[in-house]
Symmetry: C2
Amino acid sequence: MTASSLVGHLDRCSINTATLGYQGTLSDTIEGVARAGFGAIAPWRREVEGDDVGKIARRIRDAGLRVSGYCRSTYMPSATKAEFDASLDDNRRALRDASMINAACFVLVVGGLPGVSRDLRAARKQVEDAIGLLLIDARECGVPLALEPLHPMYAADRSCINTIEQALDLCSALDPDMAEPLGLAIDIYHVWWDPSLDVAIARAGRERRILAFHVCDWLVPTTDMLLDRGMMGDGVVDLRSIRSSVEEAGYSGAVEAEIFSRDDWWKRPVSETLAVCRERFQTAC
Amino acid sequence: MTASSLVGHLDRCSINTATLGYQGTLSDTIEGVARAGFGAIAPWRREVEGDDVGKIARRIRDAGLRVSGYCRSTYMPSATKAEFDASLDDNRRALRDASMINAACFVLVVGGLPGVSRDLRAARKQVEDAIGLLLIDARECGVPLALEPLHPMYAADRSCINTIEQALDLCSALDPDMAEPLGLAIDIYHVWWDPSLDVAIARAGRERRILAFHVCDWLVPTTDMLLDRGMMGDGVVDLRSIRSSVEEAGYSGAVEAEIFSRDDWWKRPVSETLAVCRERFQTAC
């Protein structure tokens, strides 16, 4: 397998703003990402909500950036109907913002077990129900939903959708004709270990579901289950091989760096992190 | 689904000695486990090797305990042929000890990526090769190999075998006729999240591969990726449902508690941990 080279193609590369540890304002971040030569950005709701979304949209456009994704959904599985409905409304509002900033997709991190539940099957059913309802809004807004399978270590508290195959099955159940704005965000951090990875990615391509592709690296040892992701090239994941599979499956969208790294990259100057991302996209991905 | 009750059936329950934090000698542990009424024990090599294995075997037998498993294999994927061979020899020696203590199985925790490798596929191939070679000794010793799929969060550094289905595929490749002493140790900590869990367990039963069944619980939050397992009932896993699936698949062997808990159970008196295990086997499993 050979991946297309990213050398000289930073226009295909995107920076998820979480990578920079939210050290500056979103305006600063937009400028920094554009100045560093990247073609896209993926902002978080915490940076957008409560601000003038139209102005943010203009700022991103004026900087010459695309939006590779908008992060992320409110968790869906809920202990009560009222909470379920509130989460749905929250996600509907976020979808409208995603549309205003012209996001390529709205990233769904769906949540784990609600309350004191031990019933993963019920949580998964709630996710399916919620996405089914959210699809109406996604169609109206023109923003596809990108369901992101999360690593199994998050099954209890962050996402009960844990493999590409499982996410694809859910998409098929809701959209057997592949006619809806529904697909996957594939993040190598969550799926790199999967013994069925190549088969799953090929299927995702055949079913035209790959909407986003995120990179970072898996560090050994990993000292924190959430906030110790590695810079591309610093860990053990065969990034190039996985990117090849994703591109052979037909994906030609942005390659987005999303690195949660509380004790390392989030402590460095934004300019340094952007410079290293720039280099590693071209040498390690 | 309904699991057979374990109330009054502590003879079916086993204590993996790691649960007690290695606070006493193995002799102390054997006596404590027997006195608490359990029917079986699962010792670790660190407690056995370098000691008089025949004497340990007699001590366990005299205490009226069975051995539900012997923990565990030396990692198999290796950066060099010499290391691969050394690991194999190590495992062969351990198999002989497993035979002497009359272990129901030798637990295979197979290892992750060797050296600086990023090639999971190659590591998995080495595991298959190593188990293929080890089967010769397993047959001679009369001790079945119990391949334990480990949680995907250990794929890099502890085990590149990460799901029941993957482990079953490996068993089928090496032993298509189901004639070899080869099967699985199913530990709920590693597999509870799997969206295919019921299907996978049913297949494991049909293919007569379930050799051991381990319980503990998944805590929320989990503060350490290795040493923060929960006591049965303290976490979010539907233990009874999974035990039902395993028993409906035909398994009638020991239910073994294996709890790595550096900051909680390992700090408590052994007698307390045993008493709580005794209660939780009967109320939470």
